[in-house]
């Protein structure tokens, strides 16, 4: 609300005459106003809603309505509008009551002279209040933004004043530590309570280091342990502020929760580690040094990264390769690890390239001197020069600019020296001139001047040197409003080009106030007495001409002095600043306007800030005749400003550390997002490859930066988020301005009007995750390669965790187990659970042994669900990580079924060959003995028969011999035929044969012999009554064994034959025992089942029986065993597999 604008007055008055009287009074008072007269409750109510008055005048007594009611309604509508009661007669009690209820003033109708001033006071006071509210609103909004951004980015900040030990944590800092915001005292002890016990000493050490060391910031990661057991990974940066003696005065910390990326990384890493164990892979740069720092080994990457050939550095001291200034640091690291076995320390140092450049390298030193295989310190590192350089450059440019320019409450901009085109502008200027940043940056300085002033402008700006006060000039806002601005210019270089930095101070109000003062003494007094500014008017000799009430108060506070007119102001100031003040005032008398901000300590401890402005006062002839000193208490503003700056700085710092940018999209138009304004933080610009100083982003520009393939999806996500008022996360590709494709992650949320729920803006943070993504991709690729490799082998691999859970399996493994058990193996299950009983226990035992470092090889056969048999060669070997820890095991199995079967086949063929060979030998034997023997006899007898001198006895005997021999020959030929038949595969059908029916048949067929020898056959086939077999063979077996038992009976003892059947483990067993003469097995075991082998002289045996029994049992797939001793009977056991 400014003085030249119309005051909108809502006047409640039922008497037209009274209303007119008031209107006149106001006109006489010189007020510019618009009046809306209402005469009853209804129209008053409507006007409150529609007219939007600056002030309300109200009669007290109306029909059906009162001033008190009107006040209540007005306050309900908006308590901000000043309410003046204009009334007839009233008691003082009533007036006091109304004032207490919030009435601004109470004016009697018959004495309206005070009305004008009262209105002006009310308006001015209201304006100031509004200004403050706006300012505080802005602060609160900023603060909310910061909180939201911190929360989104999982960024917490905290600080400790090391002098007072007063500390503060941001809400997110509480959350990161697992506390509810504000739940406990933000002390260092409470902070340490949540540090993971394993990292506690480390955190303490690092914090102490940071305070002691000469550098002012330190970064490290540590873990936080929440009460619920959750472990969070925190990237921490500590920053120490020091006084000029170097003593730390403040410690600030920024905590970034990186759990998500760490755990993703760790997950990948653990899988990777398994693969590493399977297939050796080369790492980063790796060098080994001995205890004297001599280089003993370097990986091939040393040459590619640092340019040195092996022979150039092996045997040299490692310090020759380290940047001079980092040597001390490296020694520190080396000493830390040197005396502790397996100690490991991270470092960042510069290492010399062969071309004498230095590379920033990051890595770890690990003491393996004790390890007999290594006997060295292993130094693993990688080149991070690019990243480092980038970091340094960013930090510099950021600091330089941000603090000075962006947050300055004065309007500032940078314009090209030649073209006057604006290159950059700060927030204050944009607010003041009413442009958006994008708009402003398309303009030139000429646009800020009214057209008639442009010529003067160009003249003034030619050849300007350095800091210049350009004086007060007329400036034009976007909406065309003209105002007076005091301008300062400074020539600077901006991105290499000549430019001019302009500071503009809006002094319009003050000038207008002065003008108004000239118009009316009364007005001057009113304003002077009712503003928050103290004014002191002094003449050329510094003698006080006049001052207002506030100035008097300030003087009492600051100077501890009661101001009097005609006093010399210079005499009142402290000796030590007297000369400075004098110098300032002299300059003002020379025509300058000088502004400064000073702080004074009041009551020994309270610091107050004052804005002091010295303005020359001139008469109409432009002669300067005095100075107006205005003093304004800006303590509150200063404090909030400091707070704002501090939190801004925190945010910026946090963003820089986390490489996190933030952005804000205003949602004035939710239909077409391109119509909305978009704001980016500097880090966001950098992420997208823009120079934050040179560019102002627009929606359209942003859209183009999103990778074409991702645009539609992102557009959809944003629109959905707006429609549903929900936050969103996205990961997508962007194309930086330099053409590079990067991957960013966005978290965004909608900020809605808390009352209406209408989305106001979308705030988000953006995080460049390309490196992490690339690393993940690389890991995934290498994993994928390995997977392909593993899946394309014929060997099954299953990786087990130390808990024997399946971590990974390849395709052949999956197929194998599926074939075997019909079940798909799955990760997370225990391998041995896929088997049952003894196999499961055996496997578990083996696995346990492997976890103790053993490597186990074995062969096994399994029956698959389709009843086929597979043979496997299995290997169980431990997976050992770099620290010699067993982190799991590899179960590999090779299908050796083919090999095994061919082995078995070979064995069988060999056995068959041997058997056939034996049979051939046997046949030859039969031919030369059994077959030829009767033939020889026939030949012999025939030869003898030719003799002439044969007696009839001799002749008969020879004929008899011939007869016997021919019969014998026939028998042998018959036997041979029978044998050959048995040996050849028979086509006879298998059928179920009852054992007792066989025995009964035999009893019948050899009934005569049984009767003759009084033989007894006892059988018990209760367990197994019969079998599925070839009947004739089984008959022959029974027959031969029974007739053998009778044949080889003990003389004088009736043969007793016992036959029984039984089963055990799918084996059918037939037992034949007798009480006969038995066989001396020690003597004859080898020949037991030979053809034509006989072990006794006195029977008619041909040596065929047992041979036939054995052949037939074997043909039926069984085995036969004999237990016997001479004279102890025989016991034959025949076993068939069922």
């Amino acid at each position: 609300m400014e003085m030249n604008q119309e005051i909108r007055i809502l006047h409640l008055e039922d008497q037209l005459h009274d209303a007119e009287l008031i209107r006149r009074t106001l006109l006489d008072g010189g007020l510019k106003f618009d009046i809306n007269l209402v005469r009853n409750k209804e129209s008053f109510k409507n006007a409150l809603g529609e007219y939007n008055p600056d002030i309300i005048l109200s009669d007290n007594a109306l029909p059906m309505f009162s001033g008190a009611e009107a006040l209540e309604m007005a306050q309900k509508n908006s308590s901000k509008i000043p309410f003046i009661l204009v009334s007839g007669a009233a008691t003082e009690e009533f007036a006091a009551e109304m004032m207490k209820n919030g009435v601004w003033d109470y004016i009697l109708k018959d004495r309206p002279m005070r009305l004008c001033n009262s209105i002006k006071n009310a308006i001015e006071k209201n304006r100031l209040e509004k200004e403050r509210e706006l300012y505080i609103d802005k602060l609160i909004a900023r603060d909310r933004m910061l909180q939201a951004a911190e929360k989104l980015a999982h960024l917490g900040s905290w600080e400790v004043d090391l002098l007072t030990y007063i500390s503060g944590w941001s809400d997110e800092a509480y959350r990161i530590l697992g506390y509810e915001p504000g739940a406990i005292e933000p002390s260092y002890e409470n902070y340490l309570k949540r540090v993971h016990p394993g990292d506690l000493d480390y955190v303490k050490q690092m914090t102490a280091d940071c305070m002691l060391a000469t550098h002012n910031s330190i970064k490290f990661n540590f873990r936080v342990l929440h009460p619920d057991g959750t472990v969070k990974y925190i990237r921490n940066e500590l920053i120490v502020d020091r006084d000029i003696t170097g003593k730390p005065v403040k410690l600030s910390g920024f905590n970034l929760d990186i759990t998500e990326s760490v755990s993703a990384e760790m997950e990948l890493k653990s899988t990777e580690r398994f693969y590493q164990a399977l297939i050796e892979k080369s790492a980063d740069l790796k060098v080994l040094i001995d205890a004297n720092s001599m280089l003993t080994y370097g990986s091939p990457s040393v040459e590619s990264t640092l340019g040195f050939q092996k022979e150039e550095y092996i045997g040299k001291n490692v310090s020759e390769m380290i940047f001079q200034k980092d040597l001390e640091g490296f020694e520190l690291i080396r000493n830390k690890v040197l005396y502790t076995a397996s100690a490991s320390e991270p470092f960042q140092i510069r290492i010399r390239h062969k071309n004498d450049e230095f590379k920033w390298c990051e890595g770890t030193a690990n003491n393996q001197l004790h390890n007999p295989d290594i006997q060295a310190i292993i130094i693993n590192f990688r080149d991070i020069s690019e990243r480092k350089e980038h970091e340094i450059r960013l930090a510099e440019s950021e600091k330089k600019y941000k603090d000075l320019f962006d947050q300055n409450p004065m309007s500032m901009w940078i314009a090209d020296e030649e073209t006057y085109k604006f290159l950059d502008v700060n927030e204050a200027a944009l607010n003041n001139y009413g442009y958006s940043r994008a708009e402003f940056l398309t303009l030139t300085a000429l646009h800020l001047r009214p057209e008639e002033d442009i010529e003067t402008f160009i003249r003034e700006h030619t050849g300007l040197k350095h800091l210049t006060n350009l004086g007060v000039r007329r400036h034009k806002k976007k909406d065309g409003t003209l105002f007076f601005a005091e301008l300062f210019a400074n020539n600077i270089s901006f991105n290499g080009a000549k430019a001019r930095l302009i500071l503009s101070n809006d002094i319009n109000e003050k000038l207008l106030a002065q003008n108004a003062l000239k118009k009316s003494e009364a007005n001057i007094k009113t304003i002077l007495q009712n503003t928050d500014t103290g004014y002191i008017l002094i003449d050329k000799s510094f003698s006080i001409v006049s001052f207002n009430k506030l100035a008097e108060n300030f003087s009492r506070q600051i100077l501890n002095h009661q101001l009097k007119e005609d006093e010399n102001l210079l005499a009142l100031v402290d000796e030590d600043i007297k000369s400075t003040v004098k110098e300032i005032m002299d300059r003002v008398l020379g025509g300058e306007t000088i502004v400064n901000e000073s702080n004074y300590t009041i009551n020994l401890h309270q610091v107050c800030w004052y804005f002091i402005k010295y303005v020359p006062i001139s008469n109409l002839e432009n002669e300067i005749f005095g100075i107006l000193i205005s003093v304004k208490d800006i303590t509150e503003k200063k404090e909030s400003e400091n707070r704002l700056l501090q939190s801004q700085a925190h945010l910026l710092e946090s963003q820089r550390i986390g490489n996190v940018g933030s952005w804000e999209l205003h949602l004035t138009d939710t239909e077409d997002l391109n119509n909305n304004e978009l704001y980016w933080s500097d880090q966001t610009y950098r992420i997208y490859g823009f120079d934050p100083v040179e560019t102002r982003i627009t929606r359209e520009m942003y859209r183009k930066r999103v990778h074409p393939d991702d645009r539609a999806a992102i557009q959809f996500l944003i629109q959905k988020s707006i429609n549903e008022r929900e936050s969103y996360q996205s990961e997508h590709r962007i194309i930086r301005i330099d053409g590079e494709t990067r991957i960013v992650k966005n978290y965004a949320q909608i900020i809605s009007d808390p009352e209406t729920g209408i989305p106001l803006k979308m705030v988000g943070i953006v995080h460049d995750i390309t490196e992490r993504k690339k690393a993940e991709e690389a890991l995934k690729t290498s994993e994928a390669n390995l997977r392909t490799l593993l899946n394309n082998t014929e060997i099954s691999y299953v990786l087990l965790s130390p808990e024997l859970k399946i971590v990974y399996y390849n395709q052949p493994a999956k197929n194998g187990f599926l074939r075997e058990s019909g079940i798909n193996i799955e990760t997370g299950n225990a391998l041995h659970d896929y088997f049952s009983g003894e196999r499961s226990i055996k496997l578990f035992t083996k696995c346990t042994a492997v976890l103790n470092g053993e490597k186990i090889d074995y062969e096994c056969n399994v029956v698959n669900i389709d009843n086929s048999v597979s043979w496997y060669h299995n290997t169980l070997s431990p997976v050992i990580d770099q620290e010699d820890k067993i982190v799991g095991m590899v179960f590999s199995r090779t299908d050796i079924t083919k090999r095994k079967f061919s082995e078995l086949e070979k064995e069988k063929i060999t056995a068959d060959l041997i058997r056939q060979n034996k049979e051939l030998e046997l046949f030859a034997y039969i031919v030369s003995h059994n077959l030829r023997s009767p033939v020889a006899n026939i030949l012999g007898a025939a030869g003898m028969l030719k003799e002439e001198t044969l007696s009839p006895d001799e002749f008969n005997m020879l004929l008899n011999g011939l007869d016997v021999s021919v019969n014998k020959l026939d028998d042998v030929i018959m036997d041979l035929n029978y044998i050959l038949q048995v040996k050849n595969p028979v086509n006879e059908k298998k059928e179920f044969v009852e054992f007792n029916s066989i025995v009964d048949d035999i009893r019948t067929s050899i009934g005569a012999e049984i009767l003759k020898e009084d033989a007894q056959i006892l059988y018990d086939f209760s367990q197994v009554s019969g079998m599925h077999t070839i009947k004739s063979y089984l008959y022959s077996i029974f027959y031969n064994l029974i007739s053998n038992s009778i044949k080889y009976r003990k003389p004088g003892e009736p043969p007793l034959i016992r036959i029984s059947s039984s089963t055990d483990h799918e084996i059918l067993q037939l037992n034949f025992s007798d009480n006969g003469i038995g066989i001396n097995l020690d003597k004859f075991r080898d020949q037991l089942y030979g053809l034509y082998k006989r072990f006794h002289y006195h029977t008619e045996g041909k040596g065929m029986g047992l041979y036939m029994v054995k052949t037939q049992v074997e043909t039926l797939g069984g085995t036969i065993i004999l237990n016997s001793q001479e004279n102890q009977g025989c016991e034959f056991m025949i076993k068939f597999k069922l």
Binding site: S928, R932, S933, A936, G940, E947, G961, R1094, F1095
Partner: protein
């Protein structure tokens, strides 16, 4: 004729024919026949003890016999004292024409010859030709 024949063969038919042939062609008067090699060994053991009447003997030995075959007999026979063994000339008399048997018999130092059945007149006469006899009698 002062030579004893010891025939060891389980084939009785063969034994009859040999008996007849030996009597007919070489007028053998002292012929002992055994169908069990064990019995034959026992007889030779007893005969060896009658040193007062040393008498040359020709053993005709079959190979394929139950319980103890020809080869087993030869193993046991080898254990007799050398002087005792000098009284005997062992001839294998077998129906086997297997080279294996012939080779085996040739390798045995106690075997004088291998005769394949049937034992014809020629084989018998050849066995008892002048030279053989003079040697035999000369040794006496």
């Amino acid at each position: 004729m002062g030579i004893q024949f010891i025939l060891i063969d389980d084939d009785t038919c063969n034994n009859h024919i040999i008996n007849m042939s030996l009597k007919k062609y070489v007028d053998a008067d002292d012929l002992r026949t055994f169908t069990s090699a064990e019995d034959a060994l026992e007889y030779i053991r007893i005969r060896n003890e009658e040193i007062a009447l040393p008498k040359k003997a020709i053993i005709l030995l079959d190979i394929n016999m139950p319980v103890m075959n020809g080869w087993e007999f030869l193993e046991r026979f080898d254990k007799f004292r050398e002087k005792a063994k000098m009284q005997y000339k062992v001839y294998m008399l077998t129906s086997s024409i297997s080279k294996k048997d012939i080779d085996r018999s040739n390798r045995n130092r106690n075997v004088k010859g291998y005769l394949v059945k049937p034992l014809t007149k020629e084989k018998i006469l050849n066995l008892f030709n002048e030279e053989t006899w003079s040697k035999l009698t000369g040794d006496q």
